[in-house]
């Protein structure tokens, strides 16, 4: 399986911890499309937009941003990272992504997730008590729609569909559907049982954090009769590719610390990530993808070796990374990191075969 490398964004609207300015939503949406265009031009494989329903992110409607990105790109795959499927209507999700697929000539895909933020549940009238059941049922419907049209389906949370025509069909007749997994054993197991590709999220922690997750995923996929070797696994994690090791860390730290403080509360308040803790997270045995091009190459190959990973999607804009630095990092990732990783993985797999 070819190794794919991409970038993702939440469309962060965060006050710049250094300059003090906060980008307007208008500016951030334009910058988001510019990032997609840059990623496409430097030959990256995937561009993702995450879904958050809050004023500090502009990505509440990823399908619309991805549709705009489709018009400005040629080859890059366009994915949600993730679609909070539990509070969505799977019929609508299918319609939107099938349309993006037609616009982009077959480049659309969906990463379906439960959502690590819960704002969308009250917004769309769902009860958080149904968290697990909602995702299971909605994923079931989405997969059924992919499988056949017209579709007949029945569930608990919406009216049944009887011989319903769900249109359009995508460019190539089908859409890749991944499942976003935060690392809980149960979601790895249920994803494996369904034989769906797994997009792992890793926020902080050791490189090996997901060993059990991946093991449970493969075991349950094999037990359900799926071809484990054909199932792709992706890691979605934070990072930044700098000119040098030191520059990468110096540029990323203030923004990442700001993003963590605003999104990861302890005792109801943001916790400042100390620089020493950040440096520890960027060491070779930790998961954060920050460093020089060579460091990122080494870490991606370590990820590949550890998990049999086929894809990495890096979020470089967390905490409001300024556009100039963000675009520079996208360029390094596409021109310096990706070609080497793809070549090395192909060589490794050739040797293993």
């Amino acid at each position: 399986m070819a190794f794919e490398i991409g970038v993702m964004t939440f469309g962060e609207i965060t006050e710049d911890p250094l300059g003090g300015a906060t980008p307007s939503p208008r500016r951030r949406v334009r910058e988001t499309i510019e990032q997609a265009k840059a990623a496409d031009e430097v030959g990256l494989d995937v561009f993702g937009v995450g879904e958050h329903h809050r004023s500090d992110f502009v990505g509440s409607a990823p399908s619309i941003l991805l549709a705009a990105a489709a018009e400005h790109t040629e080859r890059i795959r366009l994915t949600s990272s993730v679609t909070v499927l539990s509070s969505e209507d799977p019929v609508r999700v299918w319609e939107q992504f099938a349309t993006i697929d037609l616009l982009s000539g077959g480049r659309a895909e969906i990463i379906a997730g439960r959502g690590s933020y819960t704002e969308s549940f009250p917004l769309f009238g769902y009860d958080l008590r149904d968290y697990g059941d909602l995702f299971r049922e909605k994923l079931d419907l989405l997969l059924r729609i992919r499988e056949r049209n017209p579709v007949t389906w029945q569930g608990r949370f919406r009216a049944p569909l009887i011989d319903a025509d769900v249109a359009p069909r995508p460019n190539g007749g089908t859409l890749p559907i991944w499942v976003g997994v935060g690392g809980s054993p149960a979601s790895a197991i249920s994803t494996g049982r369904l034989g769906l590709p797994m997009a792992l999220a890793l926020l902080l922690g050791p490189l090996t954090s997901h060993e059990q997750t991946v093991e449970l995923y493969r075991q349950s996929a094999a037990a359900a009769g799926h071809d484990v070797g054909a199932l792709p696994i992706s890691i979605n994690t934070h990072g930044y590719v700098g000119r040098t090791s030191q520059e990468a860390r110096d540029v990323m730290y203030p923004y990442f610390a700001k993003g963590m403080a605003e999104n990861n509360h302890q005792r109801g308040k943001g916790l400042l990530l100390p620089r020493a803790a950040f440096n520890a997270q960027s060491s070779p045995r930790s998961g954060l993808l920050v460093g020089s091009s060579q460091e990122i190459i080494d870490k991606l190959l370590a990820y590949h070796e550890l998990y049999g990973l086929n894809r990495a999607i890096i979020q470089m804009g967390f905490g409001g990374m300024p556009q100039k630095e963000h675009l520079e990092a996208i360029e390094r990732l596409g021109t310096e990191v990706a070609p080497v990783v793809r070549r090395e993985v192909t060589a490794l797999e050739g040797r293993a075969a």
Binding site: R129, D130, Y131, G132, D133, R136, G183, S184, P185, A186, S187, I189, S190, L216, Q219
Partner: protein
């Protein structure tokens, strides 16, 4: 003619206010595993649904008849399964209130299987540091292996993690012979002739 084995009267004391609940999802797996080993009859007491006659009770005397019946059911079980979610670092107060009304010696030498769920693995020792001492006070016969599952082990209230299944199997296998000897319920219906 061989004698028909008696059923083990299992009583679950459910300390979770939620419906559906992960705690009961964990207990369902315990009961399903136990059912494979010996005949059982199960009943369940939901402490959060015993009503104001229970929550307002200060002592055992004078509790309403339905609360008295629930307390007796627990006291007369062959196997008691107290099962709780971790609230504020321990078992819920409502759960403790139920056991505050239980007769001091009613659980002596009674097999008790401890079960708990929590938001993360760091709550697992609630079994050893909170639940086991409570049943130590009652001089109950706690099963050596207690069972714990984290929120991430469940899809909704369905337990998925095979490691937890394995622990349940181990814990019950340890005491299967003892439980068979303690069974006092109505004999299980004879297996249909092959």
């Amino acid at each position: 003619m061989t004698s028909v084995p008696s059923a083990l009267r299992v009583v679950v004391v459910n300390g979770s206010p939620s419906q559906p609940s992960k705690t009961m999802g964990l207990v369902d797996v315990v009961l399903d595993t136990l059912k494979e080993m010996l005949p059982i009859e199960t009943s369940r007491i939901d402490v959060y649904r015993l009503g104001p006659g229970f929550t307002g009770a200060i002592e055992r005397d004078g509790v309403p008849p339905e609360v008295e019946a629930a307390l007796r059911l627990a006291e007369q079980a062959d196997l008691l399964i107290p099962a709780v979610p971790v609230f504020r670092g321990s078992y819920p107060g409502m759960f403790k209130h139920f056991f505050d009304l239980i007769d001091q010696y009613a659980l002596a030498n009674k097999p008790v299987l401890l079960a708990a769920t929590g938001g993360g693995d760091h709550h697992a020792l609630v079994l050893e540091h909170a639940l086991r001492p409570l049943f130590g006070f009652f001089q109950a016969l706690t099963v050596p292996v207690a069972v714990f599952a984290s929120a991430g082990d469940f899809d909704g209230s369905v337990l998925l993690n095979p490691r937890v299944y394995g622990r349940i199997e181990t814990g019950l296998t340890d005491v299967a012979d003892l439980l068979r000897a303690r069974a006092t319920g109505a004999p299980a219906p004879a297996a249909p002739a092959a």
